[in-house]
């Protein structure tokens, strides 16, 4: 499963297209507390969050996440996109809630493995 496939399957809107869209997604993590995500997410995860400010890019970059999906149609802040371009992190937007989106991502990852 890569970023390109997940965009198609879940009808996501890609907001920062600078990342590597063929990048493999090995797992996922859902959370809005940055320290929780720092401690418990893994390399290759797709990170599902409601946070839209630029500090999410530093977390995703430090943890080598495959990308970030924002929930409930929340749009990334302008400086978030600028930083995502610098750090090569794909950011996507979904109109689903964290619960629904996490379930769908989980199913997709389980199916493809």
């Amino acid at each position: 499963m890569n970023i390109e496939t997940i965009i198609k399957e879940l009808n996501l809107k890609l907001r920062s297209a600078t990342g590597d869209l063929k990048k493999n997604i090995s797992g996922g993590y859902t959370g809005d507390l940055l320290s929780d995500v720092m401690a418990n997410s893994h390399e290759g995860d797709i990170w599902i969050t409601r946070q839209v400010h630029q500090n999410i890019v530093a977390v995703a970059s430090l943890k080598d996440h495959a990308g970030i999906i924002l929930i409930n149609s929340c749009e990334p802040a302008k400086d978030t996109l600028e930083r995502a371009a610098q750090e090569n992190i794909p950011i996507m937007v979904s109109d689903l809630s964290a619960f629904e989106l996490s379930g769908k991502v989980y199913d997709l990852l389980a199916k493809k493995d």
Binding site: A39, N55, A58, V59, L62, Q86
Partner: protein
């Protein structure tokens, strides 16, 4: 706009003398929060250190950087890499920590509403630092600041 990558200087992995570098952190400025830990991670990656060691160093440097940004006026993060260990020191000028035992408790935080809304201040930072360093020391002087020293074994 600061280009992040410019902060990273090439590292000679064959150099046997300890590598040292200090980074300035501005208190209250969330715009650049994470820039120092991102640089530290890149430096350690360039040195060819094992992935789990880099991961631990990234977590502890990130949390100490966020602590300085959230609570202090300013601070310095010092990175030292020798043949055995990675040492990260976070020295700040700020209010200090009145009760370190309390601050070390999971979930305890003095963060204001603005910081919490951004997803910081969950009372996990110091716990993460403790959990992901092999040796951790913390001290503080009220009205002066806090001093954290984290050591991560390279092997």
């Amino acid at each position: 706009m600061v280009v992040w990558k410019k902060l990273i200087t090439p590292v000679d992995a064959t150099d046997k003398t300890p590598y040292q570098r200090s980074f300035y952190v501005e208190g209250g400025n969330f715009t650049y929060a994470g820039i120092v830990s991102t640089s530290i991670k890149s430096i350690l990656k360039q040195m060819g250190l094992p992935a789990d060691v880099v991961r631990k160093a990234a977590i502890v440097s990130y949390e100490s950087e966020i602590n300085i940004v959230s609570y202090a006026k300013k601070g310095v993060i010092k990175l030292t890499v020798d043949s055995q260990t990675i040492q990260i020191e976070a020295i700040d000028e700020g209010p200090g920590i009145p009760n370190i035992d309390l601050a070390m408790q999971e979930g305890y935080s003095t963060a204001d509403q603005k910081i919490r809304e951004m997803g910081f201040g969950a009372g996990m930072g110091l716990c993460n630092i403790k959990n992901y360093s092999d040796t951790f020391n913390i001290s503080s002087e009220i009205g002066k600041g806090a001093f954290l020293k984290m050591i991560i074994d390279r092997h």
